[in-house]
């Protein structure tokens, strides 16, 4: 088995990386009830129970609205603080959790309703035990 690749790998199941190494978000929508999921291979719909054949893949919007967030001041060893842990409702769904970067750390910076965009970047330089790099999503404030 080969253990390393030239292309970065997707850090999460809602990110796909094409042959050219270009990342994109992917999500699933239930055609029976409309529920959306940040996932690529659910077994069934968690809302209505429709089986996988009722779930369709779609490319979610790259912008969304902050639903809730906290300013993390004490983290685990090796994790740089502070950072903002954010729950974001992408326009049209689904909801995604991630880290909001390039932001201040005041109460105003984590207000519900703040507009943000999704960008892709290396997963903070973290590699797996085989030396593979990963691509992750990051939220950034959407400047007016």
């Amino acid at each position: 088995m080969t253990t390393t690749t030239e292309l970065p790998r997707a850090a999460f199941p809602f990110i796909v990386v094409d042959d050219m190494g270009r990342p994109a978000l992917t999500a699933q929508r239930c055609t029976k009830c409309g529920a959306t999921y940040p996932d690529s291979e659910r077994m069934a719909c968690g809302k209505c129970g429709a089986r996988a054949d009722a779930l369709e893949a779609f490319s979610p919007a790259m912008e969304g609205t902050l639903h809730s967030a906290v300013i993390v001041r004490r983290g685990f060893p090796g994790v740089e603080v502070p950072f903002i842990s954010a729950v974001v409702d992408l326009d049209g769904g689904p909801t995604l959790k991630g880290t909001l970067r390039h932001s201040g750390f005041e109460l105003d910076d984590i207000q519900q309703g703040r507009r943000v965009k999704v960008v892709f970047d290396d997963a903070l330089g973290r590699q797996d035990k085989n030396g593979n790099s990963y691509i992750a999503h990051h939220f950034e404030p959407l400047s007016a």
Partner: protein
């Protein structure tokens, strides 16, 4: 034949640090005290429901300490609802008519575990990339969602810690027993805004146990003097909500479990004299005022500000000092909450006694999610 069930003996050990004792010893201590209070022995126990999130086969390990009678033992792992799940299972089994006397135990040894949550095993560590999965962050996000909806402020959340720590100064079993004025709480080390260190429950070692009995057996043994009736025993998991599975939902399952409990008991929220609820973090206590129906939606902050949930108020909440003061040994907490209610219903709560308490409610909720609500009554 379905029949009422009763707690006839209940005990929680002093929660704290026991690095030189085993989880089985802690559980055995709680179990023996509960048996003694009930006036029965291990030979009267027909089944055991036990739970621990960090120790496997805890029930067998406890009975190896206090008496291997060969009875059925079922171990439960249900996050913070584990201890309450054991009592729920006991009531179900007794009502089914299979047993009359059942032992329930919850145990956790947590010294040295550090902050819970965080990095999920996978290709790379995700903490700091996928936001934060630590418990303070997860509950902080739930709290900020509530703040946006209700107008609750950082100071309101901090006030919950002020109240509960004050109550704990009257509870010799609490781990943290000191007054924490509002400025002290707000200026303590910020863990994840809006939660400072004094607004987070502490990992401690602990155990709690209860002997649950059928009404027939209580009468046969003449134990009605100490028996506390379980008027409702109800559990629920998280119903789907639009941010599943990204956001953990502690509100939905609590609401479902509470609604079922009120229906089972045939009582209204206004009939409840005191509540021990799952204040693993200060902010969530206010959310649970609404989830448990102690007030209307959007009225939780007012309930706190009006001092309604203080001892002496209309419906005291967490007279024990709550998880914020007692510490939170995950699987033991559910039964420990019942222990507090039983003390008040028996009039044994000392300085913090809620006067005239007849009916009390306990609540726990474990992420994942599982909520349990019990309604207890002293005849």
């Amino acid at each position: 034949m379905s029949q009422d069930t009763y707690i006839v003996g209940i005990h929680m050990i002093d929660f704290g640090r026991y690095p030189h004792r085993t989880p089985a010893q802690l559980g055995a201590q709680a179990a023996l005290e509960a048996l003694d209070e009930a006036g029965v022995t291990i030979h009267d126990i027909e089944a055991v429901f036990s739970g621990s999130n960090y120790t496997t086969m805890i029930g067998q390990k406890i009975l190896q300490q206090i008496g291997q009678t060969g009875v059925q033992i079922i171990n439960l792992v249900n996050a913070c609802s584990t201890g309450a799940s054991a009592v729920r299972m006991a009531t179900t089994a007794i009502r089914a008519g299979e047993f009359d006397t059942v032992l329930c135990v919850g145990v956790e040894q947590m010294t040295g575990l550090g902050m819970l949550g965080g990095a999920v095993p996978g290709s790379i560590p995700t903490e700091g990339i996928l936001g934060s999965a630590t418990m303070p962050a997860v509950f902080g996000e739930s709290g900020m969602e509530y703040a946006a909806r209700s107008g609750a402020t950082f100071a309101d959340f901090a006030q919950v810690a002020v109240k509960n720590h004050h109550n704990a100064t009257m509870n010799p079993k609490a781990f943290l027993r000191k007054e924490t004025p509002l400025d002290m709480v707000m200026e303590a080390e910020m863990i994840a805004y809006p939660l400072t260190k004094l607004m987070c429950s502490v990992n401690v070692d602990g155990a709690a146990a209860a002997v649950v009995m059928s009404e027939k057996k209580v009468k046969e043994l003449g134990l009605m003097d100490r028996a506390v009736r379980i008027r409702a025993s109800s559990m629920a998991s998280a119903p789907w909500q639009e941010r599943d599975p990204v956001m953990h939902d502690v509100n939905g399952p609590t609401r479902l479990a509470a609604q079922k409990a009120y229906a089972m008991a045939g009582v209204d929220p206004k009939d409840i004299d005191l509540v021990e609820l799952h204040d693993c973090f200060a902010s969530v206590e206010i959310q649970h005022y609404e989830n448990l129906g102690l007030c209307g939606d959007g009225e939780g902050v007012k309930l706190l500000r009006d001092k309604t949930t203080e001892i002496g108020g209309r419906i005291p909440v967490n007279a024990s000092g709550g998880l914020l003061s007692k510490g939170h040994p995950i699987a033991a907490t559910g039964i420990a909450n019942m222990y507090e209610i039983v003390q008040h219903l028996r009039g044994h709560a000392g300085e913090r006694q809620v006067q005239g308490a007849k009916i009390g409610m306990t609540h726990v909720v474990g992420l994942g999610t599982s909520a349990a609500v019990h309604i207890l009554e002293k005849m």
